[in-house]
Protein backbone atom coordinates (compact mmCIF):
# COMPACT_ATOMS: atom_id res chain seq x y z
CA UNK A 1 0.00 0.00 0.00
CA UNK A 2 1.28 3.45 -0.86
CA UNK A 3 -0.29 6.72 0.28
CA UNK A 4 0.73 10.06 -1.17
CA UNK A 5 -0.66 13.01 0.83
CA UNK A 6 -0.40 16.55 -0.49
CA UNK A 7 3.22 16.47 -1.67
CA UNK A 8 4.78 19.58 -3.17
CA UNK A 9 8.27 20.04 -4.54
CA UNK A 10 10.04 23.11 -5.90
CA UNK A 11 13.42 23.26 -7.63
CA UNK A 12 15.49 26.41 -7.51
CA UNK A 13 17.47 27.41 -10.56
CA UNK A 14 19.67 30.50 -10.89
CA UNK A 15 16.91 32.46 -12.57
CA UNK A 16 13.69 31.16 -11.07
CA UNK A 17 11.93 28.70 -8.81
CA UNK A 18 10.23 25.85 -10.68
CA UNK A 19 7.28 24.17 -9.05
CA UNK A 20 7.55 20.49 -10.03
CA UNK A 21 4.69 19.23 -7.85
CA UNK A 22 1.78 21.06 -6.22
CA UNK A 23 -0.29 19.37 -3.54
CA UNK A 24 -0.41 15.93 -5.17
CA UNK A 25 -2.37 13.20 -3.38
CA UNK A 26 -3.34 9.66 -4.36
CA UNK A 27 -3.08 6.14 -3.04
CA UNK A 28 -2.67 2.63 -4.37
CA UNK A 29 -3.68 -0.51 -2.52
CA UNK A 30 -1.98 -3.89 -2.55
CA UNK A 31 -2.75 -5.94 -5.64
CA UNK A 32 -3.37 -2.84 -7.78
CA UNK A 33 -1.48 -0.97 -10.47
CA UNK A 34 -1.49 2.82 -10.40
CA UNK A 35 -0.45 4.70 -13.54
CA UNK A 36 0.78 8.27 -13.43
CA UNK A 37 0.28 9.80 -16.87
CA UNK A 38 1.48 13.11 -18.13
CA UNK A 39 3.56 14.90 -20.75
CA UNK A 40 7.31 15.46 -20.37
CA UNK A 41 8.09 17.79 -17.49
CA UNK A 42 4.73 17.24 -15.80
CA UNK A 43 6.30 16.01 -12.54
CA UNK A 44 5.88 12.23 -12.92
CA UNK A 45 9.53 11.38 -12.28
CA UNK A 46 9.75 13.83 -9.35
CA UNK A 47 6.72 12.18 -7.72
CA UNK A 48 8.20 8.71 -8.21
CA UNK A 49 11.61 9.77 -6.92
CA UNK A 50 9.97 11.14 -3.77
CA UNK A 51 8.19 7.79 -3.31
CA UNK A 52 11.51 5.98 -3.78
CA UNK A 53 13.23 8.11 -1.05
CA UNK A 54 15.56 9.72 -3.59
CA UNK A 55 14.02 13.16 -3.02
CA UNK A 56 12.38 14.78 -0.01
CA UNK A 57 9.09 16.63 -0.52
CA UNK A 58 8.94 20.29 0.52
CA UNK A 59 5.58 19.56 2.12
CA UNK A 60 3.21 16.60 2.41
CA UNK A 61 4.19 13.00 2.99
CA UNK A 62 4.40 9.58 1.37
CA UNK A 63 3.81 6.36 3.26
CA UNK A 64 4.89 2.99 1.90
CA UNK A 65 3.30 0.09 3.79
CA UNK A 66 2.76 2.54 6.65
CA UNK A 67 6.37 3.83 6.74
CA UNK A 68 7.18 7.48 6.06
CA UNK A 69 9.65 7.96 3.18
CA UNK A 70 11.48 10.78 4.99
CA UNK A 71 11.48 9.64 8.62
CA UNK A 72 11.73 5.87 7.99
CA UNK A 73 13.57 5.76 4.68
CA UNK A 74 15.51 2.57 5.52
CA UNK A 75 12.28 0.68 6.23
CA UNK A 76 10.80 2.06 3.00
CA UNK A 77 13.84 0.97 0.95
CA UNK A 78 13.44 -2.59 2.25
CA UNK A 79 9.98 -2.64 0.75
CA UNK A 80 10.41 -0.92 -2.61
CA UNK A 81 11.87 -1.88 -5.95
CA UNK A 82 12.66 1.21 -8.02
CA UNK A 83 13.42 1.38 -11.70
CA UNK A 84 13.75 4.41 -13.90
CA UNK A 85 14.49 4.74 -17.59
CA UNK A 86 17.43 7.02 -16.63
CA UNK A 87 18.90 4.21 -14.57
CA UNK A 88 21.31 2.59 -16.97
CA UNK A 89 23.49 -0.29 -15.98
CA UNK A 90 26.97 -0.16 -17.42
CA UNK A 91 30.38 -1.68 -16.88
CA UNK A 92 31.84 -5.10 -17.32
CA UNK A 93 29.96 -6.94 -14.64
CA UNK A 94 27.46 -9.56 -15.76
CA UNK A 95 23.76 -9.57 -14.75
CA UNK A 96 24.62 -12.46 -12.42
CA UNK A 97 27.35 -10.44 -10.71
CA UNK A 98 25.09 -7.38 -10.46
CA UNK A 99 22.33 -9.43 -8.87
CA UNK A 100 24.88 -10.79 -6.37
CA UNK A 101 26.07 -7.24 -5.64
CA UNK A 102 22.60 -5.80 -5.05
CA UNK A 103 21.59 -8.93 -3.13
CA UNK A 104 24.55 -8.47 -0.78
CA UNK A 105 23.73 -4.77 -0.38
CA UNK A 106 20.21 -5.73 0.67
CA UNK A 107 21.63 -8.25 3.16
CA UNK A 108 19.96 -11.28 1.56
CA UNK A 109 21.25 -14.69 2.64
CA UNK A 110 23.18 -16.68 0.03
CA UNK A 111 20.52 -19.40 -0.14
CA UNK A 112 17.70 -16.90 -0.64
CA UNK A 113 19.75 -14.94 -3.17
CA UNK A 114 20.43 -18.10 -5.15
CA UNK A 115 16.75 -19.07 -5.36
CA UNK A 116 15.56 -15.49 -6.14
CA UNK A 117 18.17 -15.21 -8.89
CA UNK A 118 17.06 -18.51 -10.37
CA UNK A 119 13.41 -17.41 -10.37
CA UNK A 120 14.14 -14.03 -11.94
CA UNK A 121 16.47 -15.45 -14.61
CA UNK A 122 13.85 -18.02 -15.54
CA UNK A 123 10.92 -15.59 -15.46
CA UNK A 124 12.61 -12.80 -17.41
CA UNK A 125 14.29 -15.19 -19.85
CA UNK A 126 17.80 -14.07 -18.96
CA UNK A 127 19.44 -17.49 -19.23
CA UNK A 128 21.30 -16.74 -22.47
CA UNK A 129 23.00 -13.57 -21.26
CA UNK A 130 23.18 -13.85 -17.49
CA UNK A 131 26.97 -14.28 -17.59
CA UNK A 132 27.76 -11.75 -20.32
CA UNK A 133 29.10 -8.26 -19.48
CA UNK A 134 26.27 -5.71 -19.25
CA UNK A 135 28.07 -3.44 -21.74
CA UNK A 136 27.63 -6.05 -24.45
CA UNK A 137 23.88 -6.51 -23.90
CA UNK A 138 21.06 -5.06 -26.00
CA UNK A 139 18.67 -2.39 -24.62
CA UNK A 140 16.02 -5.01 -23.87
CA UNK A 141 18.50 -7.28 -22.12
CA UNK A 142 19.75 -4.35 -20.05
CA UNK A 143 16.19 -3.43 -19.09
CA UNK A 144 15.53 -7.02 -18.01
CA UNK A 145 18.72 -6.90 -15.95
CA UNK A 146 17.61 -3.61 -14.35
CA UNK A 147 14.25 -5.17 -13.47
CA UNK A 148 15.95 -8.23 -11.97
CA UNK A 149 18.29 -6.04 -9.95
CA UNK A 150 15.46 -3.89 -8.59
CA UNK A 151 13.50 -7.00 -7.55
CA UNK A 152 16.33 -9.02 -6.06
CA UNK A 153 15.13 -8.30 -2.49
CA UNK A 154 11.54 -9.30 -3.28
CA UNK A 155 9.93 -5.89 -2.59
CA UNK A 156 6.26 -5.41 -1.72
CA UNK A 157 5.98 -2.19 -3.73
CA UNK A 158 7.31 -1.61 -7.23
CA UNK A 159 7.90 1.89 -8.56
CA UNK A 160 8.75 1.89 -12.24
CA UNK A 161 9.35 5.14 -14.12
CA UNK A 162 8.54 4.59 -17.80
CA UNK A 163 9.52 0.91 -17.68
CA UNK A 164 8.98 0.25 -21.40
CA UNK A 165 10.74 3.38 -22.62
CA UNK A 166 13.09 2.51 -25.49
CA UNK A 167 12.07 -1.14 -25.59
CA UNK A 168 10.84 -3.02 -28.65
CA UNK A 169 7.35 -4.53 -28.66
CA UNK A 170 8.50 -7.98 -27.47
CA UNK A 171 10.59 -6.65 -24.61
CA UNK A 172 7.72 -4.30 -23.65
CA UNK A 173 5.40 -7.28 -23.44
CA UNK A 174 7.77 -9.09 -21.11
CA UNK A 175 7.72 -6.05 -18.79
CA UNK A 176 3.94 -5.54 -18.89
CA UNK A 177 3.27 -9.27 -18.35
CA UNK A 178 5.64 -9.16 -15.46
CA UNK A 179 3.81 -6.19 -13.90
CA UNK A 180 0.49 -8.02 -14.26
CA UNK A 181 1.96 -11.05 -12.49
CA UNK A 182 3.25 -8.84 -9.74
CA UNK A 183 -0.24 -7.46 -9.25
CA UNK A 184 -1.62 -11.02 -9.06
CA UNK A 185 0.85 -11.70 -6.23
CA UNK A 186 -0.92 -8.95 -4.25
CA UNK A 187 1.87 -6.39 -4.58
CA UNK A 188 1.56 -2.65 -5.20
CA UNK A 189 2.73 -1.30 -8.54
CA UNK A 190 3.20 2.36 -9.41
CA UNK A 191 4.24 3.23 -12.94
CA UNK A 192 4.65 6.41 -14.88
CA UNK A 193 4.28 6.47 -18.62
CA UNK A 194 3.20 8.58 -21.55
CA UNK A 195 2.12 5.55 -23.57
CA UNK A 196 -1.66 5.82 -23.10
CA UNK A 197 -2.80 2.44 -24.52
CA UNK A 198 -0.26 0.70 -22.31
CA UNK A 199 -1.58 2.51 -19.22
CA UNK A 200 -5.18 1.79 -20.21
CA UNK A 201 -4.53 -1.94 -20.48
CA UNK A 202 -2.37 -2.23 -17.41
CA UNK A 203 -3.56 0.18 -14.73
CA UNK A 204 -6.44 -0.13 -12.28
CA UNK A 205 -6.22 3.52 -11.31
CA UNK A 206 -4.91 6.35 -13.43
CA UNK A 207 -3.69 9.78 -12.37
CA UNK A 208 -3.34 12.50 -14.99
CA UNK A 209 -0.68 15.03 -14.12
CA UNK A 210 -0.04 18.35 -15.86
CA UNK A 211 2.49 20.99 -14.85
CA UNK A 212 2.85 19.52 -11.35
CA UNK A 213 -0.89 19.32 -10.66
CA UNK A 214 -2.77 16.03 -10.43
CA UNK A 215 -5.78 16.99 -12.53
CA UNK A 216 -7.64 13.71 -12.47
CA UNK A 217 -7.39 10.49 -10.52
CA UNK A 218 -9.71 7.50 -10.75
CA UNK A 219 -10.44 4.18 -12.38
CA UNK A 220 -10.68 4.00 -16.18
CA UNK A 221 -14.43 3.60 -15.96
CA UNK A 222 -14.80 6.63 -13.73
CA UNK A 223 -12.74 8.77 -16.10
CA UNK A 224 -14.56 7.51 -19.22
CA UNK A 225 -17.90 8.34 -17.61
CA UNK A 226 -16.86 11.78 -16.39
CA UNK A 227 -15.47 12.92 -19.75
CA UNK A 228 -17.84 10.92 -21.98
CA UNK A 229 -14.87 9.48 -23.83
CA UNK A 230 -13.89 5.89 -24.48
CA UNK A 231 -10.11 6.16 -24.29
CA UNK A 232 -7.61 7.63 -21.86
CA UNK A 233 -5.76 9.11 -24.81
CA UNK A 234 -8.80 11.24 -25.79
CA UNK A 235 -9.26 12.40 -22.19
CA UNK A 236 -5.57 13.24 -21.98
CA UNK A 237 -5.63 15.32 -25.19
CA UNK A 238 -8.83 17.10 -24.10
CA UNK A 239 -7.21 18.09 -20.80
CA UNK A 240 -3.97 19.09 -22.52
CA UNK A 241 -5.90 21.28 -24.96
CA UNK A 242 -7.82 22.87 -22.07
CA UNK A 243 -4.47 23.92 -20.59
CA UNK A 244 -3.22 25.32 -23.85
CA UNK A 245 -0.56 22.61 -24.16
CA UNK A 246 -1.82 21.57 -27.60
CA UNK A 247 -2.53 24.04 -30.36
CA UNK A 248 -4.57 23.42 -33.56
CA UNK A 249 -5.82 19.94 -32.63
Amino acid sequence: MIEVSGISKKFKTKKKVVSALEDVSFSCEDGKIFGLLGPNGAGKTTALRIMATLLKPDSGSVKVSGYDTVKQSTEVRKRIGFLTSDMKLSGNLSPDELMNFFGELNHISKEQLGSTKEQLVHYLGMGDFVSKPVEKLSTGMKQKTSIAVSLIHNPQVIIFDEPTNGLDIISSKVVTDFLKDFKKQGKTVIISTHIMPEAEKLCDTIGLIFEGHLIECGTKEELFKKYSQDSIEDIFFALAEERGLIKNV
Binding site: L54, F82, M87, G91, F102, L105, P133, S146
Partner: protein
Protein backbone atom coordinates in the same frame (compact mmCIF):
# COMPACT_ATOMS: atom_id res chain seq x y z
CA UNK B 1 28.21 0.00 7.86
CA UNK B 2 31.82 -0.89 6.96
CA UNK B 3 30.62 -4.24 5.60
CA UNK B 4 28.41 -2.39 3.08
CA UNK B 5 31.33 -0.12 2.16
CA UNK B 6 33.47 -3.19 1.47
CA UNK B 7 30.74 -4.65 -0.79
CA UNK B 8 30.75 -1.42 -2.84
CA UNK B 9 34.55 -1.27 -2.83
CA UNK B 10 34.88 -4.89 -4.03
CA UNK B 11 32.32 -4.33 -6.79
CA UNK B 12 34.16 -1.26 -8.07
CA UNK B 13 37.52 -3.05 -8.00
CA UNK B 14 36.04 -6.04 -9.80
CA UNK B 15 34.69 -3.71 -12.46
CA UNK B 16 38.16 -2.20 -12.99
CA UNK B 17 39.90 -5.56 -13.25
CA UNK B 18 37.26 -6.92 -15.64
CA UNK B 19 37.42 -3.89 -17.89
CA UNK B 20 40.50 -4.22 -20.09
CA UNK B 21 40.51 -0.51 -21.02
CA UNK B 22 40.33 0.68 -17.39
CA UNK B 23 42.95 -1.84 -16.29
CA UNK B 24 45.24 -0.76 -19.11
CA UNK B 25 44.85 2.98 -18.44
CA UNK B 26 45.24 2.70 -14.65
CA UNK B 27 47.90 -0.01 -14.27
CA UNK B 28 49.70 -0.66 -17.54
CA UNK B 29 49.76 2.74 -19.26
CA UNK B 30 51.60 4.69 -16.50
CA UNK B 31 54.21 1.89 -16.40
CA UNK B 32 54.84 2.26 -20.13
CA UNK B 33 54.22 5.99 -20.42
CA UNK B 34 56.66 7.18 -17.76
CA UNK B 35 59.79 5.65 -19.33
CA UNK B 36 58.62 6.95 -22.73
CA UNK B 37 57.97 10.52 -21.48
CA UNK B 38 61.09 10.87 -19.31
CA UNK B 39 63.22 8.91 -21.78
CA UNK B 40 62.17 11.26 -24.58
CA UNK B 41 62.80 14.35 -22.41
CA UNK B 42 66.27 13.03 -21.47
CA UNK B 43 67.10 12.10 -25.07
CA UNK B 44 66.02 15.49 -26.44
CA UNK B 45 67.88 17.45 -23.75
CA UNK B 46 71.05 15.32 -24.23
CA UNK B 47 71.00 15.74 -27.98
CA UNK B 48 70.44 19.50 -27.59
CA UNK B 49 73.39 19.75 -25.21
CA UNK B 50 75.55 17.66 -27.52
CA UNK B 51 74.50 19.80 -30.49
CA UNK B 52 75.36 22.98 -28.56
CA UNK B 53 78.80 21.57 -27.70
CA UNK B 54 79.57 20.58 -31.28
CA UNK B 55 78.40 23.83 -32.86
CA UNK B 56 80.92 26.29 -34.25
CA UNK B 57 79.94 29.69 -32.82
CA UNK B 58 80.15 32.96 -34.71
CA UNK B 59 81.74 35.42 -32.27
CA UNK B 60 82.51 39.08 -32.63
CA UNK B 61 85.54 39.59 -30.41
CA UNK B 62 86.89 43.09 -29.87
CA UNK B 63 90.26 43.96 -28.27
CA UNK B 64 90.68 40.52 -26.64
CA UNK B 65 94.26 39.29 -26.13
CA UNK B 66 95.38 36.11 -27.92
CA UNK B 67 95.93 34.51 -24.54
CA UNK B 68 92.21 34.80 -23.83
CA UNK B 69 91.27 33.51 -27.29
CA UNK B 70 93.42 30.43 -26.65
CA UNK B 71 91.60 29.80 -23.40
CA UNK B 72 88.19 30.37 -25.09
CA UNK B 73 89.02 27.83 -27.79
CA UNK B 74 89.28 25.21 -25.05
CA UNK B 75 85.64 25.89 -24.11
CA UNK B 76 83.89 26.29 -27.50
CA UNK B 77 84.58 26.04 -31.19
CA UNK B 78 84.32 29.49 -32.70
CA UNK B 79 84.94 31.63 -35.74
CA UNK B 80 85.45 35.35 -35.53
CA UNK B 81 83.29 37.80 -37.39
CA UNK B 82 83.47 41.56 -37.76
CA UNK B 83 79.75 42.38 -37.68
CA UNK B 84 76.74 41.65 -35.44
CA UNK B 85 74.91 38.60 -36.76
CA UNK B 86 71.25 37.55 -36.57
CA UNK B 87 72.22 33.90 -36.25
CA UNK B 88 71.22 31.85 -33.22
CA UNK B 89 74.76 30.70 -32.51
CA UNK B 90 76.09 34.26 -32.30
CA UNK B 91 77.57 36.13 -29.32
CA UNK B 92 79.90 39.09 -28.95
CA UNK B 93 82.41 40.19 -26.35
CA UNK B 94 84.24 43.45 -26.07
CA UNK B 95 87.31 44.16 -23.99
CA UNK B 96 88.17 47.86 -23.36
CA UNK B 97 90.50 49.47 -25.92
CA UNK B 98 93.25 49.86 -23.36
CA UNK B 99 93.77 47.90 -20.18
CA UNK B 100 96.62 46.65 -18.10
CA UNK B 101 96.57 43.17 -16.63
CA UNK B 102 99.48 44.02 -14.35
CA UNK B 103 97.58 46.75 -12.47
CA UNK B 104 94.77 46.32 -9.95
CA UNK B 105 92.34 48.19 -12.19
CA UNK B 106 89.18 46.35 -13.13
CA UNK B 107 88.81 45.30 -16.76
CA UNK B 108 85.22 45.79 -17.91
CA UNK B 109 84.28 43.14 -20.47
CA UNK B 110 80.92 43.43 -22.20
CA UNK B 111 79.26 40.23 -23.48
CA UNK B 112 76.37 40.41 -25.93
CA UNK B 113 74.09 37.42 -26.34
CA UNK B 114 70.51 36.60 -27.32
CA UNK B 115 68.44 35.17 -24.43
CA UNK B 116 65.85 33.79 -26.86
CA UNK B 117 68.44 31.54 -28.51
CA UNK B 118 69.51 28.39 -26.70
CA UNK B 119 72.83 28.28 -28.56
CA UNK B 120 73.60 31.95 -27.88
CA UNK B 121 72.85 31.36 -24.18
CA UNK B 122 75.15 28.33 -24.20
CA UNK B 123 77.88 30.49 -25.80
CA UNK B 124 77.41 33.06 -22.99
CA UNK B 125 77.98 30.36 -20.38
CA UNK B 126 81.16 29.16 -22.08
CA UNK B 127 82.47 32.72 -22.55
CA UNK B 128 81.89 33.42 -18.85
CA UNK B 129 83.73 30.19 -17.96
CA UNK B 130 86.63 31.22 -20.26
CA UNK B 131 86.70 34.71 -18.68
CA UNK B 132 86.89 33.12 -15.22
CA UNK B 133 89.79 30.97 -16.33
CA UNK B 134 91.50 34.03 -17.84
CA UNK B 135 90.85 35.97 -14.60
CA UNK B 136 92.55 33.19 -12.60
CA UNK B 137 95.50 33.32 -14.99
CA UNK B 138 95.91 37.09 -14.47
CA UNK B 139 95.61 36.64 -10.71
CA UNK B 140 98.16 33.83 -10.76
CA UNK B 141 100.65 35.99 -12.70
CA UNK B 142 100.22 38.95 -10.36
CA UNK B 143 100.56 36.79 -7.25
CA UNK B 144 103.71 35.14 -8.59
CA UNK B 145 105.36 38.58 -8.57
CA UNK B 146 104.99 38.45 -4.78
CA UNK B 147 105.98 34.76 -4.53
CA UNK B 148 102.38 33.75 -3.91
CA UNK B 149 99.98 31.35 -5.59
CA UNK B 150 96.18 31.16 -5.86
CA UNK B 151 96.14 28.44 -3.18
CA UNK B 152 97.75 30.86 -0.74
CA UNK B 153 94.55 32.94 -0.86
CA UNK B 154 92.64 30.01 0.60
CA UNK B 155 93.99 29.40 4.12
CA UNK B 156 91.43 26.69 4.90
CA UNK B 157 91.26 23.46 2.98
CA UNK B 158 87.95 21.66 3.49
CA UNK B 159 87.79 17.92 2.95
CA UNK B 160 84.30 16.38 3.17
CA UNK B 161 83.85 12.78 4.32
CA UNK B 162 80.45 11.16 3.75
CA UNK B 163 79.93 8.62 6.53
CA UNK B 164 76.53 7.46 5.19
CA UNK B 165 76.45 3.83 3.90
CA UNK B 166 77.65 3.66 0.30
CA UNK B 167 74.36 2.27 -1.01
CA UNK B 168 72.33 5.16 0.44
CA UNK B 169 74.70 7.95 -0.58
CA UNK B 170 73.12 10.48 -2.93
CA UNK B 171 69.56 9.50 -2.02
CA UNK B 172 68.82 12.62 0.05
CA UNK B 173 67.28 14.43 -2.91
CA UNK B 174 65.24 11.37 -3.83
CA UNK B 175 63.96 10.88 -0.26
CA UNK B 176 62.92 14.52 -0.22
CA UNK B 177 61.18 14.33 -3.59
CA UNK B 178 59.45 10.95 -3.24
CA UNK B 179 56.64 12.14 -0.89
CA UNK B 180 55.89 15.10 -3.18
CA UNK B 181 55.94 12.94 -6.30
CA UNK B 182 53.81 10.29 -4.60
CA UNK B 183 51.21 12.92 -3.69
CA UNK B 184 51.16 14.30 -7.23
CA UNK B 185 50.86 10.82 -8.77
CA UNK B 186 48.08 9.77 -6.36
CA UNK B 187 46.13 12.96 -7.07
CA UNK B 188 46.68 12.72 -10.82
CA UNK B 189 45.75 9.04 -10.88
CA UNK B 190 42.77 9.35 -8.55
CA UNK B 191 41.27 12.49 -10.09
CA UNK B 192 39.73 10.81 -13.14
CA UNK B 193 38.67 7.72 -11.19
CA UNK B 194 37.03 9.86 -8.50
CA UNK B 195 35.12 11.90 -11.06
CA UNK B 196 34.01 8.77 -12.89
CA UNK B 197 32.75 6.93 -9.84
CA UNK B 198 30.73 9.92 -8.57
CA UNK B 199 29.49 12.36 -11.21
CA UNK B 200 30.17 9.84 -14.01
CA UNK B 201 28.03 7.22 -12.32
CA UNK B 202 25.32 9.80 -11.66
CA UNK B 203 25.29 10.79 -15.34
CA UNK B 204 25.08 7.14 -16.39
CA UNK B 205 22.14 6.69 -14.02
CA UNK B 206 23.87 4.09 -11.86
CA UNK B 207 23.89 6.12 -8.64
CA UNK B 208 20.09 6.10 -8.27
CA UNK B 209 20.15 2.28 -8.41
CA UNK B 210 22.57 2.31 -5.51
CA UNK B 211 20.74 4.94 -3.44
CA UNK B 212 17.38 3.12 -3.38
CA UNK B 213 18.94 0.09 -1.69
CA UNK B 214 19.24 -0.63 2.02
CA UNK B 215 22.63 0.97 2.31
CA UNK B 216 23.47 4.24 4.02
CA UNK B 217 24.86 7.21 2.09
CA UNK B 218 27.91 7.14 4.38
CA UNK B 219 28.65 3.51 3.43
CA UNK B 220 28.42 4.37 -0.27
CA UNK B 221 30.78 7.33 0.23
CA UNK B 222 33.29 5.28 2.27
CA UNK B 223 33.25 2.43 -0.27
CA UNK B 224 33.87 4.81 -3.14
CA UNK B 225 36.57 6.80 -1.30
CA UNK B 226 38.35 3.52 -0.49
CA UNK B 227 38.13 2.50 -4.14
CA UNK B 228 39.53 5.86 -5.32
CA UNK B 229 42.42 5.68 -2.80
CA UNK B 230 43.38 2.11 -3.73
CA UNK B 231 43.22 2.69 -7.50
CA UNK B 232 45.08 6.01 -7.10
CA UNK B 233 47.82 4.17 -5.20
CA UNK B 234 47.95 1.36 -7.76
CA UNK B 235 48.31 4.02 -10.43
CA UNK B 236 51.17 5.75 -8.61
CA UNK B 237 52.93 2.44 -7.89
CA UNK B 238 52.75 1.67 -11.59
CA UNK B 239 54.12 5.13 -12.40
CA UNK B 240 57.03 4.61 -9.98
CA UNK B 241 57.62 1.18 -11.48
CA UNK B 242 57.93 2.82 -14.88
CA UNK B 243 60.41 5.37 -13.55
CA UNK B 244 62.43 2.65 -11.82
CA UNK B 245 62.53 0.79 -15.12
CA UNK B 246 63.82 3.92 -16.88
CA UNK B 247 66.53 4.46 -14.23
CA UNK B 248 67.64 0.83 -14.61
CA UNK B 249 67.75 1.16 -18.41
CA UNK B 250 69.80 4.35 -18.20
Amino acid sequence: MFKDSMIIFKKEMKNIFKDKRSFFSIIILPFILMPIIFGTIGFVSNSQEKGAQETTYILQIKNAPDEFKNILSQFIKFEETQSISEEGNFAALEFPQTYNTDSLEKINVKVLFRSTSQKSSFALGQIKAALNAYQNLILQKNLEKHDLSLDDLKPINISEVDIAPKESQGTQFLSMMVPYMLLIYIFAGAMGIGMDTTSGEKERGGLAALLVNQVSRTSIAIGKILYVIVTGMLNSVSTFGGEELLINIL
